[in-house]
Protein backbone atom coordinates (compact mmCIF):
# COMPACT_ATOMS: atom_id res chain seq x y z
CA UNK A 1 0.00 0.00 0.00
CA UNK A 2 1.36 3.38 -0.91
CA UNK A 3 0.80 6.67 0.84
CA UNK A 4 -2.37 8.69 0.46
CA UNK A 5 -1.66 12.40 0.76
CA UNK A 6 -4.29 13.78 3.11
CA UNK A 7 -3.18 17.38 2.57
CA UNK A 8 -4.37 17.18 -1.03
CA UNK A 9 -7.77 17.70 0.49
CA UNK A 10 -8.30 21.48 0.58
CA UNK A 11 -10.12 21.39 3.90
CA UNK A 12 -7.36 19.41 5.65
CA UNK A 13 -4.66 21.55 4.05
CA UNK A 14 -6.43 24.73 5.11
CA UNK A 15 -6.90 23.45 8.66
CA UNK A 16 -3.17 22.64 8.87
CA UNK A 17 -1.96 25.90 7.37
CA UNK A 18 -4.16 28.23 9.35
CA UNK A 19 -3.14 28.81 12.94
CA UNK A 20 -6.66 29.43 14.18
CA UNK A 21 -8.09 25.85 14.32
CA UNK A 22 -5.04 24.65 16.25
CA UNK A 23 -5.08 27.72 18.49
CA UNK A 24 -8.72 27.19 19.40
CA UNK A 25 -8.01 23.58 20.41
CA UNK A 26 -4.90 24.76 22.29
CA UNK A 27 -6.92 27.27 24.30
CA UNK A 28 -9.53 24.69 25.30
CA UNK A 29 -6.76 22.22 26.24
CA UNK A 30 -4.82 24.82 28.21
CA UNK A 31 -7.96 25.87 30.10
CA UNK A 32 -8.65 22.20 30.90
CA UNK A 33 -5.05 21.66 31.97
CA UNK A 34 -5.01 24.68 34.30
CA UNK A 35 -8.38 23.64 35.69
CA UNK A 36 -6.97 20.15 36.33
CA UNK A 37 -4.11 21.72 38.32
CA UNK A 38 -6.52 23.78 40.43
CA UNK A 39 -8.91 20.85 40.87
CA UNK A 40 -6.02 18.70 42.05
CA UNK A 41 -4.81 21.31 44.52
CA UNK A 42 -8.13 22.69 45.74
CA UNK A 43 -10.71 19.96 45.10
CA UNK A 44 -11.72 16.93 47.10
CA UNK A 45 -8.89 14.59 48.14
CA UNK A 46 -11.04 11.67 46.98
CA UNK A 47 -9.44 10.77 43.68
CA UNK A 48 -12.44 9.12 42.07
CA UNK A 49 -14.46 12.33 42.56
CA UNK A 50 -11.81 14.84 41.50
CA UNK A 51 -11.54 16.22 37.96
CA UNK A 52 -7.75 16.03 37.97
CA UNK A 53 -7.65 12.29 38.58
CA UNK A 54 -10.72 11.32 36.57
CA UNK A 55 -10.03 13.48 33.53
CA UNK A 56 -6.27 13.08 33.41
CA UNK A 57 -5.76 9.46 34.38
CA UNK A 58 -8.99 7.94 33.06
CA UNK A 59 -10.43 10.12 30.25
CA UNK A 60 -7.21 11.57 28.80
CA UNK A 61 -5.30 8.34 29.23
CA UNK A 62 -8.04 6.37 27.48
CA UNK A 63 -8.08 8.77 24.53
CA UNK A 64 -4.28 8.84 24.37
CA UNK A 65 -3.47 5.14 24.50
CA UNK A 66 -6.56 3.63 22.88
CA UNK A 67 -7.05 6.16 20.10
CA UNK A 68 -4.55 9.00 19.70
CA UNK A 69 -1.26 7.09 19.76
CA UNK A 70 -2.29 4.00 17.74
CA UNK A 71 -4.05 5.97 15.02
CA UNK A 72 -2.58 9.47 15.07
CA UNK A 73 0.93 8.92 16.45
CA UNK A 74 2.02 12.23 17.86
CA UNK A 75 -1.45 13.68 17.27
CA UNK A 76 -1.68 14.46 20.98
CA UNK A 77 1.56 16.50 20.82
CA UNK A 78 -0.06 18.62 18.09
CA UNK A 79 -2.62 19.89 20.61
CA UNK A 80 -0.80 19.42 23.93
CA UNK A 81 -1.07 22.59 26.04
CA UNK A 82 2.06 22.05 28.17
CA UNK A 83 4.61 23.84 25.92
CA UNK A 84 2.31 26.74 25.00
CA UNK A 85 2.92 29.35 27.73
CA UNK A 86 6.69 28.81 27.47
CA UNK A 87 6.61 28.96 23.71
CA UNK A 88 4.53 32.13 23.67
CA UNK A 89 6.98 33.74 26.10
CA UNK A 90 9.97 32.47 24.11
CA UNK A 91 8.60 33.94 20.89
CA UNK A 92 7.09 37.00 22.47
CA UNK A 93 4.07 36.32 20.31
CA UNK A 94 1.12 33.99 19.97
CA UNK A 95 0.21 34.21 16.32
CA UNK A 96 2.32 36.89 14.71
CA UNK A 97 5.34 35.91 12.57
CA UNK A 98 8.66 35.83 14.42
CA UNK A 99 10.91 38.86 14.57
CA UNK A 100 14.65 38.53 14.10
CA UNK A 101 15.58 39.23 17.69
CA UNK A 102 16.02 36.01 19.69
CA UNK A 103 14.21 36.21 22.99
CA UNK A 104 15.60 35.02 26.29
CA UNK A 105 18.76 32.91 26.26
CA UNK A 106 17.88 30.81 23.21
CA UNK A 107 20.71 28.34 23.88
CA UNK A 108 21.15 25.07 22.06
CA UNK A 109 20.53 21.99 24.23
CA UNK A 110 23.93 20.43 25.09
CA UNK A 111 24.77 17.46 22.92
CA UNK A 112 24.89 15.06 25.87
CA UNK A 113 21.19 15.63 26.45
CA UNK A 114 20.11 15.39 22.82
CA UNK A 115 18.57 11.94 23.18
CA UNK A 116 15.65 10.46 25.09
CA UNK A 117 17.50 9.28 28.20
CA UNK A 118 16.11 12.20 30.20
CA UNK A 119 12.64 11.24 29.00
CA UNK A 120 13.30 7.67 30.04
CA UNK A 121 14.29 8.89 33.51
CA UNK A 122 11.35 11.30 33.86
CA UNK A 123 8.93 8.55 32.79
CA UNK A 124 10.43 6.10 35.28
CA UNK A 125 10.15 8.68 38.05
CA UNK A 126 6.44 9.08 37.32
CA UNK A 127 5.97 5.32 37.13
CA UNK A 128 7.75 4.63 40.41
CA UNK A 129 5.49 7.11 42.19
CA UNK A 130 2.45 6.23 40.11
CA UNK A 131 0.41 4.53 42.83
CA UNK A 132 0.35 7.85 44.66
CA UNK A 133 0.22 9.98 41.53
CA UNK A 134 -2.76 8.12 40.01
CA UNK A 135 -4.81 8.23 43.18
CA UNK A 136 -3.97 11.48 45.00
CA UNK A 137 -5.40 14.66 43.45
CA UNK A 138 -2.97 17.14 45.00
CA UNK A 139 0.03 15.10 43.82
CA UNK A 140 -1.44 15.02 40.31
CA UNK A 141 -2.01 18.79 40.53
CA UNK A 142 1.59 19.37 41.63
CA UNK A 143 3.03 17.14 38.89
CA UNK A 144 0.92 18.87 36.21
CA UNK A 145 2.08 22.27 37.50
CA UNK A 146 5.72 21.16 37.62
CA UNK A 147 5.52 19.99 34.01
CA UNK A 148 4.01 23.32 32.94
CA UNK A 149 6.65 25.36 34.76
CA UNK A 150 9.47 23.08 33.61
CA UNK A 151 8.36 23.68 30.02
CA UNK A 152 8.28 27.45 30.65
CA UNK A 153 11.72 27.38 32.32
CA UNK A 154 13.33 25.37 29.54
CA UNK A 155 11.81 27.66 26.91
CA UNK A 156 13.49 30.61 28.62
CA UNK A 157 16.89 28.91 28.54
CA UNK A 158 16.93 26.77 25.42
CA UNK A 159 15.75 27.26 21.87
CA UNK A 160 12.63 25.59 20.47
CA UNK A 161 10.62 23.04 22.47
CA UNK A 162 13.40 21.57 24.62
CA UNK A 163 10.90 20.24 27.16
CA UNK A 164 8.85 18.31 24.58
CA UNK A 165 11.85 16.99 22.75
CA UNK A 166 14.12 16.00 25.64
CA UNK A 167 12.28 15.92 28.96
CA UNK A 168 8.53 15.27 28.65
CA UNK A 169 7.83 11.86 30.24
CA UNK A 170 4.83 11.31 27.99
CA UNK A 171 6.45 12.57 24.78
CA UNK A 172 9.12 9.87 24.91
CA UNK A 173 6.76 6.95 24.63
CA UNK A 174 4.38 8.75 22.28
CA UNK A 175 7.36 9.26 19.97
CA UNK A 176 8.37 5.61 20.19
CA UNK A 177 4.88 4.31 19.49
CA UNK A 178 4.10 6.95 16.87
CA UNK A 179 6.27 4.88 14.53
CA UNK A 180 3.44 2.36 14.39
CA UNK A 181 0.76 4.93 13.51
CA UNK A 182 -0.79 5.05 10.03
CA UNK A 183 -0.10 8.77 9.70
CA UNK A 184 3.07 10.70 8.93
CA UNK A 185 4.39 14.13 8.02
CA UNK A 186 6.94 13.89 5.20
CA UNK A 187 8.35 15.89 2.33
CA UNK A 188 7.02 15.21 -1.15
CA UNK A 189 10.21 15.67 -3.19
CA UNK A 190 13.69 15.52 -1.69
CA UNK A 191 15.26 17.51 -4.52
CA UNK A 192 13.04 20.48 -3.74
CA UNK A 193 14.44 20.53 -0.19
CA UNK A 194 18.03 20.16 -1.43
CA UNK A 195 17.65 23.23 -3.63
CA UNK A 196 15.59 25.24 -1.14
CA UNK A 197 17.47 28.32 0.06
CA UNK A 198 17.39 29.29 3.71
CA UNK A 199 15.54 26.14 4.77
CA UNK A 200 12.63 28.13 6.28
CA UNK A 201 11.05 24.93 7.59
CA UNK A 202 13.96 24.62 10.02
CA UNK A 203 15.05 28.23 10.41
CA UNK A 204 11.69 29.98 10.20
CA UNK A 205 10.49 32.77 7.94
CA UNK A 206 7.90 35.51 7.84
CA UNK A 207 5.33 32.75 7.28
CA UNK A 208 6.07 30.95 10.54
CA UNK A 209 8.51 29.56 13.05
CA UNK A 210 11.42 27.21 12.47
CA UNK A 211 10.69 23.63 13.51
CA UNK A 212 9.91 23.77 17.26
CA UNK A 213 10.99 20.12 17.53
CA UNK A 214 14.47 20.83 16.16
CA UNK A 215 13.89 18.55 13.19
CA UNK A 216 14.78 19.31 9.57
CA UNK A 217 11.71 18.01 7.75
CA UNK A 218 13.76 17.32 4.63
CA UNK A 219 15.53 14.53 6.52
CA UNK A 220 12.49 13.04 8.25
CA UNK A 221 12.29 9.29 7.87
CA UNK A 222 10.53 8.37 11.14
CA UNK A 223 7.71 9.85 13.22
CA UNK A 224 9.63 9.65 16.49
CA UNK A 225 10.65 13.29 16.81
CA UNK A 226 8.10 15.06 14.62
CA UNK A 227 5.48 16.67 16.89
CA UNK A 228 2.97 17.29 14.07
CA UNK A 229 2.90 20.98 15.04
CA UNK A 230 2.34 21.90 11.36
CA UNK A 231 4.83 24.79 11.39
CA UNK A 232 6.75 23.37 8.42
CA UNK A 233 3.55 23.13 6.37
CA UNK A 234 3.09 26.86 7.05
CA UNK A 235 6.67 27.87 6.31
CA UNK A 236 7.52 25.70 3.28
CA UNK A 237 7.59 28.08 0.30
CA UNK A 238 7.36 25.20 -2.18
CA UNK A 239 4.33 23.40 -0.76
CA UNK A 240 6.59 20.38 -0.42
CA UNK A 241 5.32 18.98 2.88
CA UNK A 242 2.44 16.56 3.20
CA UNK A 243 0.48 14.66 5.81
CA UNK A 244 0.15 11.10 4.54
CA UNK A 245 -1.97 8.11 5.38
CA UNK A 246 0.27 5.04 5.27
CA UNK A 247 0.41 1.40 6.40
CA UNK A 248 0.68 0.75 10.14
CA UNK A 249 4.24 0.55 11.54
CA UNK A 250 5.82 1.75 8.30
CA UNK A 251 8.69 3.32 10.29
CA UNK A 252 9.68 -0.01 11.81
CA UNK A 253 10.81 -1.47 8.50
CA UNK A 254 14.19 0.21 9.06
CA UNK A 255 14.96 -0.48 12.72
CA UNK A 256 16.63 2.15 14.88
CA UNK A 257 20.07 1.43 16.33
CA UNK A 258 19.82 3.89 19.21
CA UNK A 259 20.20 2.50 22.73
CA UNK A 260 18.02 5.20 24.33
CA UNK A 261 15.14 4.16 22.08
CA UNK A 262 15.85 0.45 22.64
CA UNK A 263 15.66 0.91 26.40
CA UNK A 264 12.52 2.98 26.00
CA UNK A 265 10.92 -0.10 24.43
CA UNK A 266 11.97 -2.22 27.44
CA UNK A 267 10.83 0.45 29.92
CA UNK A 268 7.39 0.60 28.33
CA UNK A 269 7.02 -3.18 28.00
CA UNK A 270 8.16 -3.80 31.58
CA UNK A 271 6.07 -0.99 33.05
CA UNK A 272 2.89 -2.32 31.42
CA UNK A 273 3.55 -5.79 32.86
CA UNK A 274 4.39 -4.51 36.33
CA UNK A 275 1.35 -2.20 36.35
CA UNK A 276 -0.87 -5.11 35.33
CA UNK A 277 0.46 -7.15 38.25
CA UNK A 278 0.38 -4.44 40.89
CA UNK A 279 -2.66 -2.37 40.01
CA UNK A 280 -4.94 -5.05 38.56
CA UNK A 281 -3.67 -8.10 40.41
CA UNK A 282 -5.03 -9.51 43.69
CA UNK A 283 -1.77 -9.09 45.63
CA UNK A 284 -2.37 -6.57 48.39
CA UNK A 285 1.20 -6.67 49.64
CA UNK A 286 2.49 -5.40 46.27
CA UNK A 287 -0.07 -2.58 46.19
CA UNK A 288 0.90 -1.61 49.71
CA UNK A 289 4.61 -1.54 48.83
CA UNK A 290 3.97 0.57 45.70
CA UNK A 291 1.78 3.02 47.62
CA UNK A 292 3.90 3.60 50.73
CA UNK A 293 6.44 5.88 49.08
CA UNK A 294 9.57 6.26 51.18
CA UNK A 295 9.05 3.09 53.23
CA UNK A 296 11.52 0.23 53.07
CA UNK A 297 8.89 -1.84 51.21
CA UNK A 298 8.67 0.90 48.57
CA UNK A 299 12.46 0.99 48.16
CA UNK A 300 12.47 -2.78 47.63
CA UNK A 301 9.61 -2.38 45.14
CA UNK A 302 11.51 0.37 43.32
CA UNK A 303 14.69 -1.72 43.17
CA UNK A 304 12.79 -4.75 41.83
CA UNK A 305 10.96 -2.53 39.33
CA UNK A 306 14.23 -1.09 37.99
CA UNK A 307 15.91 -4.50 38.01
CA UNK A 308 13.12 -6.00 35.91
CA UNK A 309 13.32 -3.17 33.39
CA UNK A 310 17.08 -2.71 33.16
CA UNK A 311 18.39 -6.20 33.95
CA UNK A 312 15.83 -9.00 33.67
CA UNK A 313 13.99 -8.02 30.48
CA UNK A 314 17.04 -6.84 28.47
CA UNK A 315 19.13 -9.67 29.97
CA UNK A 316 16.89 -12.44 28.67
CA UNK A 317 16.58 -10.59 25.37
CA UNK A 318 20.38 -10.49 24.98
CA UNK A 319 20.75 -14.12 26.11
CA UNK A 320 18.34 -15.17 23.38
CA UNK A 321 20.42 -13.42 20.77
CA UNK A 322 23.95 -14.26 21.98
CA UNK A 323 24.34 -17.34 19.84
CA UNK A 324 23.10 -15.77 16.64
CA UNK A 325 25.87 -15.46 14.08
CA UNK A 326 26.34 -11.96 12.79
CA UNK A 327 29.16 -9.67 11.82
CA UNK A 328 27.36 -6.79 13.54
CA UNK A 329 28.22 -5.89 17.13
CA UNK A 330 25.84 -7.16 19.83
CA UNK A 331 24.88 -3.58 20.79
CA UNK A 332 23.75 -2.88 17.24
CA UNK A 333 21.78 -6.14 17.05
CA UNK A 334 20.24 -5.53 20.49
CA UNK A 335 19.01 -2.06 19.52
CA UNK A 336 17.74 -3.14 16.11
CA UNK A 337 15.94 -6.25 17.32
CA UNK A 338 14.29 -4.38 20.20
CA UNK A 339 12.24 -2.64 17.51
CA UNK A 340 10.06 -5.76 17.64
CA UNK A 341 9.01 -4.82 21.17
CA UNK A 342 7.42 -1.54 20.04
CA UNK A 343 4.11 -2.95 18.71
CA UNK A 344 4.03 -5.50 21.53
CA UNK A 345 4.51 -2.79 24.17
CA UNK A 346 1.83 -0.61 22.61
CA UNK A 347 -0.67 -3.48 22.65
CA UNK A 348 0.31 -4.38 26.24
CA UNK A 349 -0.64 -0.83 27.21
CA UNK A 350 -3.87 -1.07 25.21
CA UNK A 351 -4.81 -4.32 26.99
CA UNK A 352 -3.91 -2.94 30.42
CA UNK A 353 -5.74 0.33 29.80
CA UNK A 354 -8.90 -1.41 28.59
CA UNK A 355 -9.27 -3.02 31.99
CA UNK A 356 -8.42 0.12 33.93
CA UNK A 357 -10.49 2.49 31.81
CA UNK A 358 -13.64 0.38 31.37
CA UNK A 359 -13.79 -0.30 35.10
CA UNK A 360 -13.48 3.36 36.05
CA UNK A 361 -15.06 5.20 33.10
CA UNK A 362 -18.34 5.72 34.95
CA UNK A 363 -16.56 8.18 37.24
CA UNK A 364 -16.25 10.57 34.28
CA UNK A 365 -19.94 11.55 34.23
CA UNK A 366 -20.00 12.19 37.97
CA UNK A 367 -16.79 14.24 37.86
CA UNK A 368 -18.13 16.27 34.95
CA UNK A 369 -21.01 17.51 37.08
CA UNK A 370 -19.00 17.88 40.27
CA UNK A 371 -15.38 18.36 39.20
CA UNK A 372 -14.11 19.52 42.57
CA UNK A 373 -16.16 17.13 44.67
CA UNK A 374 -17.94 20.02 46.38
CA UNK A 375 -21.46 18.70 45.99
CA UNK A 376 -22.26 20.49 42.71
CA UNK A 377 -24.51 18.93 40.08
CA UNK A 378 -23.82 21.01 36.97
CA UNK A 379 -25.19 18.60 34.36
CA UNK A 380 -27.38 16.38 36.52
CA UNK A 381 -24.90 13.49 36.42
CA UNK A 382 -23.19 13.95 39.80
CA UNK A 383 -25.01 11.00 41.32
CA UNK A 384 -24.26 8.49 38.58
CA UNK A 385 -23.23 5.36 40.45
CA UNK A 386 -20.01 3.52 39.76
CA UNK A 387 -20.48 0.61 37.37
CA UNK A 388 -17.85 -1.25 35.36
CA UNK A 389 -18.55 -1.11 31.63
CA UNK A 390 -18.52 -3.96 29.09
CA UNK A 391 -17.12 -6.53 31.53
CA UNK A 392 -18.22 -9.40 29.28
CA UNK A 393 -16.21 -7.97 26.38
CA UNK A 394 -13.08 -7.20 28.37
CA UNK A 395 -11.27 -10.55 28.31
CA UNK A 396 -11.84 -11.22 24.56
CA UNK A 397 -10.78 -7.64 23.77
CA UNK A 398 -7.60 -8.04 25.81
CA UNK A 399 -6.80 -11.36 24.14
CA UNK A 400 -7.37 -9.77 20.75
CA UNK A 401 -5.06 -6.89 21.63
CA UNK A 402 -2.30 -9.10 23.05
CA UNK A 403 -2.38 -11.81 20.39
CA UNK A 404 -2.67 -9.14 17.69
CA UNK A 405 0.30 -7.36 19.24
CA UNK A 406 2.27 -10.61 19.25
CA UNK A 407 1.59 -11.21 15.54
CA UNK A 408 2.52 -7.60 14.80
CA UNK A 409 5.73 -7.96 16.80
CA UNK A 410 6.63 -11.27 15.18
CA UNK A 411 6.31 -9.68 11.73
CA UNK A 412 8.37 -6.68 12.90
CA UNK A 413 10.98 -9.03 14.38
CA UNK A 414 11.37 -10.78 11.05
CA UNK A 415 12.01 -7.49 9.26
CA UNK A 416 14.47 -6.33 11.93
CA UNK A 417 16.23 -9.71 11.91
CA UNK A 418 16.58 -9.51 8.12
CA UNK A 419 18.20 -6.08 8.49
CA UNK A 420 20.83 -7.33 10.93
CA UNK A 421 21.05 -10.75 9.24
CA UNK A 422 20.18 -12.95 12.21
CA UNK A 423 17.37 -15.35 13.04
CA UNK A 424 14.15 -13.81 14.30
CA UNK A 425 13.13 -16.90 16.28
CA UNK A 426 14.73 -15.93 19.65
CA UNK A 427 12.96 -12.55 19.54
CA UNK A 428 9.64 -14.15 18.60
CA UNK A 429 9.96 -16.68 21.42
CA UNK A 430 10.79 -13.82 23.81
CA UNK A 431 7.68 -11.94 22.67
CA UNK A 432 5.57 -15.09 23.09
CA UNK A 433 6.78 -15.59 26.67
CA UNK A 434 6.17 -11.91 27.51
CA UNK A 435 2.68 -12.13 25.99
CA UNK A 436 1.88 -15.29 27.96
CA UNK A 437 2.92 -13.57 31.20
CA UNK A 438 0.78 -10.55 30.34
CA UNK A 439 -2.17 -12.82 29.53
CA UNK A 440 -1.74 -14.54 32.90
CA UNK A 441 -1.65 -11.18 34.68
CA UNK A 442 -4.72 -9.78 32.96
CA UNK A 443 -7.04 -12.76 32.46
Amino acid sequence: MNRIELTRNRFIKGACKSRYPQLSVFIVMLAGYIFAIFAGLLGTPVGSHNFSIVFVWIAWWAILILLAVPFFGRGWCAVCPIPLPGEWLQRGAILTPPDERPRWLNLRVPKIFRNIWLQNISFLLLVLFSSVLLTTPNITGIVLAVMLFAAIGLSMIFERRAFCRYLCPVGGFIGLYSQTAPIELRIKDKQVCVKCEGKPCYNGSSAGYGCPWDVFPGGLSRNTYCGLCMECIRTCPHDNIAINLRPFSADLVKPSTRMDEAFKAFIMLGSAMIYAGILLGPWGMLKDAAYRVGSSAWFIYAMIFLAIIFVVLPGFFILGNLNTRSVLPLKHRFASLSTALIPLGLMFWVAFSLSFVLTNASYILAALSDPLGLGWNLFGTANVTWQPLLTAMLAPAQTLALVGGLIWSACTAQKAANEVEVSSIPVIVYCFIATSIMLWLLL
Partner: protein, 159 residues
Amino acid sequence: MNTRFSPLLLVMAGLVVAVVPLPVPPIAPQARTFRIYAEQYAYSPSQVHVNPGDTVTIQLVSADVVHGLYVDGYDVSIEADPGQSSTLTFIADKPGSLRFRCNVTCGAMHPFMIGRLIVGTNSWLYRSIGLAFLAIVGVLLLSSQGNRNKVYEPNRTYP
Protein backbone atom coordinates in the same frame (compact mmCIF):
# COMPACT_ATOMS: atom_id res chain seq x y z
CA MET B 1 1.23 -27.45 3.26
CA ASN B 2 -0.40 -25.75 0.29
CA THR B 3 0.30 -22.01 0.47
CA ARG B 4 -3.24 -21.04 -0.50
CA PHE B 5 -4.82 -23.11 2.24
CA SER B 6 -2.37 -22.28 5.04
CA PRO B 7 -4.12 -19.10 6.24
CA LEU B 8 -7.48 -20.86 6.10
CA LEU B 9 -6.18 -23.80 8.12
CA LEU B 10 -4.62 -21.44 10.65
CA VAL B 11 -7.90 -19.56 11.07
CA MET B 12 -9.76 -22.85 11.52
CA ALA B 13 -7.22 -24.03 14.08
CA GLY B 14 -7.62 -20.68 15.84
CA LEU B 15 -11.38 -21.13 15.99
CA VAL B 16 -10.95 -24.63 17.40
CA VAL B 17 -8.62 -23.30 20.13
CA ALA B 18 -10.94 -20.39 20.88
CA VAL B 19 -14.36 -22.05 21.01
CA VAL B 20 -14.28 -25.87 21.20
CA PRO B 21 -15.41 -26.97 24.70
CA LEU B 22 -12.74 -28.49 26.88
CA PRO B 23 -13.39 -31.88 28.52
CA VAL B 24 -14.34 -31.07 32.11
CA PRO B 25 -15.07 -33.84 34.63
CA PRO B 26 -18.60 -33.33 36.02
CA ILE B 27 -18.54 -32.10 39.61
CA ALA B 28 -21.76 -31.89 41.59
CA PRO B 29 -22.53 -28.31 42.61
CA GLN B 30 -22.28 -27.62 46.30
CA ALA B 31 -22.78 -24.79 48.72
CA ARG B 32 -19.52 -23.05 49.65
CA THR B 33 -18.95 -20.29 52.15
CA PHE B 34 -15.94 -17.96 52.23
CA ARG B 35 -15.09 -15.46 54.93
CA ILE B 36 -13.20 -12.64 53.21
CA TYR B 37 -11.45 -9.96 55.24
CA ALA B 38 -11.19 -6.51 53.66
CA GLU B 39 -8.49 -4.11 54.76
CA GLN B 40 -7.06 -1.12 52.87
CA TYR B 41 -6.39 -2.12 50.01
CA ALA B 42 -6.61 -5.88 49.84
CA TYR B 43 -8.87 -8.85 50.41
CA SER B 44 -7.83 -11.93 52.32
CA PRO B 45 -8.07 -14.47 50.82
CA SER B 46 -7.51 -12.54 47.61
CA GLN B 47 -8.31 -15.49 45.32
CA VAL B 48 -11.34 -17.74 45.62
CA HIS B 49 -11.78 -20.97 43.63
CA VAL B 50 -15.20 -22.54 43.16
CA ASN B 51 -16.77 -25.02 40.76
CA PRO B 52 -19.35 -24.05 38.16
CA GLY B 53 -22.85 -24.22 39.61
CA ASP B 54 -21.71 -23.86 43.23
CA THR B 55 -23.84 -21.72 45.50
CA VAL B 56 -21.28 -19.27 46.83
CA THR B 57 -21.77 -17.38 50.06
CA ILE B 58 -19.30 -14.62 50.85
CA GLN B 59 -19.08 -13.16 54.33
CA LEU B 60 -17.31 -9.85 53.96
CA VAL B 61 -15.62 -8.60 57.13
CA SER B 62 -14.17 -5.12 57.16
CA ALA B 63 -11.15 -4.57 59.36
CA ASP B 64 -10.70 -0.80 59.06
CA VAL B 65 -13.06 1.44 57.04
CA VAL B 66 -16.26 0.74 55.09
CA HIS B 67 -15.46 -1.63 52.25
CA GLY B 68 -17.53 -3.18 49.52
CA LEU B 69 -17.26 -6.24 47.33
CA TYR B 70 -18.59 -6.17 43.77
CA VAL B 71 -18.27 -9.24 41.56
CA ASP B 72 -17.55 -8.41 37.91
CA GLY B 73 -19.86 -10.20 35.49
CA TYR B 74 -22.41 -11.12 38.18
CA ASP B 75 -23.26 -7.51 39.03
CA VAL B 76 -23.81 -8.37 42.71
CA SER B 77 -22.33 -6.50 45.65
CA ILE B 78 -22.27 -6.04 49.41
CA GLU B 79 -20.88 -3.49 51.84
CA ALA B 80 -19.44 -4.01 55.30
CA ASP B 81 -18.97 -1.42 58.03
CA PRO B 82 -15.79 -1.44 60.11
CA GLY B 83 -15.71 -4.46 62.37
CA GLN B 84 -18.97 -5.74 60.90
CA SER B 85 -19.71 -8.41 58.35
CA SER B 86 -22.19 -8.70 55.49
CA THR B 87 -23.23 -11.73 53.53
CA LEU B 88 -23.75 -12.22 49.80
CA THR B 89 -24.99 -15.38 48.11
CA PHE B 90 -25.00 -16.13 44.40
CA ILE B 91 -24.75 -19.10 42.05
CA ALA B 92 -21.40 -19.26 40.28
CA ASP B 93 -22.75 -20.12 36.85
CA LYS B 94 -20.22 -18.18 34.75
CA PRO B 95 -16.99 -20.15 34.37
CA GLY B 96 -13.66 -18.38 34.14
CA SER B 97 -11.59 -15.88 36.06
CA LEU B 98 -13.46 -12.82 37.28
CA ARG B 99 -12.41 -9.93 39.45
CA PHE B 100 -14.14 -8.80 42.59
CA ARG B 101 -13.41 -5.29 43.72
CA CYS B 102 -14.24 -2.72 46.33
CA ASN B 103 -17.23 -0.60 45.31
CA VAL B 104 -17.18 1.82 48.24
CA THR B 105 -14.57 4.57 48.10
CA CYS B 106 -12.26 3.44 50.87
CA GLY B 107 -9.10 5.51 50.36
CA ALA B 108 -6.54 6.48 47.79
CA MET B 109 -5.87 3.03 46.32
CA HIS B 110 -9.56 2.11 46.33
CA PRO B 111 -9.79 1.64 42.51
CA PHE B 112 -7.12 -1.04 42.75
CA MET B 113 -8.55 -3.03 45.68
CA ILE B 114 -9.12 -6.18 43.69
CA GLY B 115 -9.50 -9.94 44.25
CA ARG B 116 -10.11 -12.87 41.95
CA LEU B 117 -12.94 -15.35 41.72
CA ILE B 118 -12.05 -18.38 39.62
CA VAL B 119 -15.03 -20.49 38.61
CA GLY B 120 -13.88 -23.90 37.36
CA THR B 121 -10.75 -23.64 35.26
CA ASN B 122 -9.57 -20.38 33.78
CA SER B 123 -10.00 -21.84 30.32
CA TRP B 124 -9.95 -18.43 28.58
CA LEU B 125 -6.36 -17.95 29.74
CA TYR B 126 -5.30 -21.32 28.30
CA ARG B 127 -7.19 -20.65 25.09
CA SER B 128 -5.53 -17.25 24.79
CA ILE B 129 -2.06 -18.72 25.29
CA GLY B 130 -2.97 -21.38 22.72
CA LEU B 131 -4.03 -18.67 20.28
CA ALA B 132 -0.77 -16.80 20.93
CA PHE B 133 1.22 -19.96 20.22
CA LEU B 134 -0.77 -20.64 17.08
CA ALA B 135 -0.23 -17.04 16.00
CA ILE B 136 3.56 -17.27 16.09
CA VAL B 137 3.50 -20.69 14.42
CA GLY B 138 1.36 -19.10 11.71
CA VAL B 139 3.71 -16.15 11.26
CA LEU B 140 6.74 -18.43 10.99
CA LEU B 141 4.97 -20.86 8.67
CA LEU B 142 3.65 -18.20 6.32
CA SER B 143 6.96 -16.35 6.19
CA SER B 144 8.90 -19.55 5.45
CA GLN B 145 6.44 -20.33 2.64
CA GLY B 146 6.80 -16.78 1.40
CA ASN B 147 10.58 -17.18 1.29
CA ARG B 148 10.31 -20.52 -0.53
CA ASN B 149 7.96 -19.04 -3.12
CA LYS B 150 10.38 -16.27 -4.01
CA VAL B 151 11.60 -17.03 -7.53
CA TYR B 152 15.28 -16.45 -8.19
CA GLU B 153 15.76 -14.00 -11.02
CA PRO B 154 19.32 -14.18 -12.40
CA ASN B 155 19.29 -10.66 -13.85
CA ARG B 156 17.90 -8.99 -10.73
CA THR B 157 20.23 -7.27 -8.28
CA TYR B 158 19.56 -8.61 -4.79
CA PRO B 159 20.39 -6.46 -1.76
